[in-house]
């Protein structure tokens, strides 16, 4: 039964271990609403791809439950398969076949045929700018074209839920931007999208809601803004015209500390930094206080907390460090295949 409150994607307490006592998922729970773009954000090896494999019926969890639009992935995998489209991390297109052949076969595997299939394939080729290259072997495609074909392959049968596993990994910045725009359009069409990424920027930009994943479990979730707001505070940096003498520093510190809603003040040579609940609102007061103290200002910047700050707070290490650690571990384990 599907009601408005039934999540489009639901995973409850998913656990998955691989041989060699590698815990890929450790009670991962996620709910994605219909029509939402949801980002699973985490470093390499956090368990994002394993979660996708379970949700897309490729892998079975050791325990836990996963439901797509009301269909249990373990009990009714074929019903789930008709609901979902998947763009995997690796391209799944046959490089020897043409783009059109790939799409036609994909449609046929879902039981599509005749004019309906032809029409759908032509429309997708047009939409993804592949019409001219349609009858060329996929191995001649550029990276961006291949990725667009991958997305088209995931959409042939008009799924309601689309999974994108690290969709822009390995793409150049321009192609990445194009794909982001395309994902945005798909979201407007009303698709429910679950995307995994280890790019903070990508999650921030595309996702309505995000779950931060670390070591196989969700450590925080919410909209990007909610997550950042939990940090309570923008960073306010002031650059002074001249270096403060040591004798003068306490006076400057005192002038800013007297202001309401400002914390974590540091004064260091030409630089004054602080945290404020609302950075933009704090700037005039900070400038006035410095002016009163007789300190000329060269520049002011206000930085909203980044997802990196959020990650640091929840996981206790910087995102890039976690990513690097995971990569090191992966090269040590070399079990093959991505988790």
């Amino acid at each position: 039964m599907i009601t408005d409150t039934t999540p489009a994607i639901a995973a409850y307490d998913l656990v998955k271990t691989y041989p060699g006592d590698i815990t890929a998922l450790d009670r991962l729970t996620v709910e994605v609403h219909a029509g939402e773009v949801f980002g699973l954000l985490g470093p390499n090896g956090a368990g994002k791809s394993t979660a996708i494999k379970i949700l897309t019926t490729l892998a079975k969890p050791d325990s836990g439950r996963a439901v797509i639009n009301g269909h249990d992935v373990l009990r009714h995998p074929n019903r789930v398969r008709r609901e979902i489209g998947v763009v995997a991390q690796r391209t799944g297109a046959d490089p020897q076949a043409t783009g059109r052949d790939n799409l036609m076969l994909q449609g046929r595997l879902y039981g599509m045929r005749g004019g309906r299939l032809d029409g759908r394939v032509t429309a997708l080729l047009d939409r993804f700018g592949l019409a001219e290259a349609a009858d060329r072997a996929v191995r001649t495609y550029s990276g961006g074209m291949q990725r667009r074909l991958d997305v088209a392959l995931g959409l042939v049968h008009r799924p309601h839920v689309l999974f994108l596993d690290e969709p822009t990994t390995g793409l150049d910045p321009e192609t990445r931007a194009e794909l982001w725009a395309e994902i945005g359009r798909l979201a407007q069409d009303g698709l429910t999208i679950l995307l995994t990424t280890h790019y903070l920027e990508e999650a921030d930009r595309l996702a309505d809601r995000i779950a931060l994943v670390d070591r196989g479990t969700v450590v925080a979730s919410g909209t990007p803004d909610e997550l950042k707001d939990q940090l309570r505070g923008d960073a306010v940096h002031v650059e002074l015209r001249s270096v403060l003498t040591e004798a003068f520093e306490p006076a400057v510190y005192g002038a800013i500390a007297a202001l309401a809603g400002i914390r974590e003040i540091s004064v260091d040579g030409r630089r004054v930094s602080a945290r404020a609940d609302d950075g933009a609102a704090a700037v005039p007061a900070v400038l006035a206080a410095l002016d009163r103290a007789g300190v000329p200002v060269a520049a002011v910047t206000v930085a909203r907390p980044s997802l990196d700050d959020v990650y640091l707070r929840h996981v206790g290490r910087r995102f890039a460090e976690a990513d690097a650690d995971a990569t090191d571990a992966a090269t040590l384990i070399t079990t093959g295949g991505s988790r």
């Binding site: 494999k53 074929n78 799944g92 046959d94 020897q96 076949a97 994909q106 046929r108 595997l109 093959g336």
Partner: protein
């Protein structure tokens, strides 16, 4: 059921199309059997003069040997293609669709079979062009082609199973190098059974390559021995079914290990 058949057809269609696209490659794979045919045919031409060989023309004798050897050697590589599809993510893309799992397996068995049949027919025709005779006529040639397909299925399924389980190209190459020549020479492919040392003859009775040859030669002779032909074909069919079943098991194993 019809859905499964349709899916099997389209998946087979994909592989056949890929094969046609690489028609040049198919020709190249035929170079080796052709060399065997003409080199061995000339080199051992007078071997039939040995008392007890039992045939007048070595080329007549050799054609089934080369057909069968080709069926073994070309199908031993099937696992490589399977590995490539896994690594490229193509297998997973299919598994995410509601396609019948059996259809994926059947398509590769059928494709291998068609490819073996085509190659066997080409070798038979080349032999015929070079002057080989097939006294058993079309029926005899048909049995030769069918047994080569069955034997090919045995080895392509084995190669699939090895590829799927171990996921290493080296193992497939090693297995193929390790098995091809012993299996060929422990059979009547190039030498009449009666002239083989006793232990080799014993080994040959357990060798599926030899079963295929006994079946084919039985059917190709001027007075076809259908009992032998059908008996060994049946044995081969049983072995082929067993190997395909094994390879299906390994495919399930792969799906569990994803």
């Amino acid at each position: 059921m019809t859905a499964t058949l349709t899916q099997t057809w389209w998946l087979t269609h994909r592989q056949l199309k890929a094969m046609l696209r690489q028609a040049g490659f198919v020709v190249i794979t035929l170079v080796q059997p052709v060399i065997w045919l003409f080199l061995f045919g000339s080199l051992f031409r007078r071997i039939v003069e040995l008392p007890g060989f039992g045939t007048g023309s070595y080329l007549d004798y050799l054609v089934p040997g080369v057909v069968v050897m080709n069926a073994v050697s070309s199908n031993m590589w099937t696992g490589m293609g399977v590995l490539e599809e896994i690594e490229r993510g193509i297998t997973n893309r299919f598994l995410i669709t509601p396609v019948n799992r059996g259809a994926i397996m059947s398509a590769s068995v059928i494709t291998a079979g068609i490819s073996t049949a085509v190659q066997s027919v080409i070798i038979v025709l080349l032999g015929w062009a070079a002057g080989a005779h097939y006294p058993g006529g079309v029926g005899g040639v048909a049995v030769l082609v069918i047994t080569s397909v069955l034997l090919g299925t045995v080895f392509s399924a084995m190669s699939n199973a090895v590829g799927m389980t171990l996921r290493q190209r080296e193992t497939i190459i090693g297995l193929s190098v390790f098995l091809l020549l012993p299996l060929t020479f422990l059979s009547s492919a190039f030498m009449a059974e009666d002239l083989m040392p006793g232990w080799m003859r014993d080994a040959a009775t357990l060798n599926p390559v030899n079963w295929a040859l006994d079946a084919a030669r039985g059917a190709l002779s001027a007075s076809p021995d259908w009992a032998v032909a059908f008996g060994y074909s049946g044995l081969l069919l049983g072995l082929a079914v067993l190997m395909v079943w094994l390879s299906t098991l390994t495919f399930r194993g792969y799906q569990k290990a994803v």
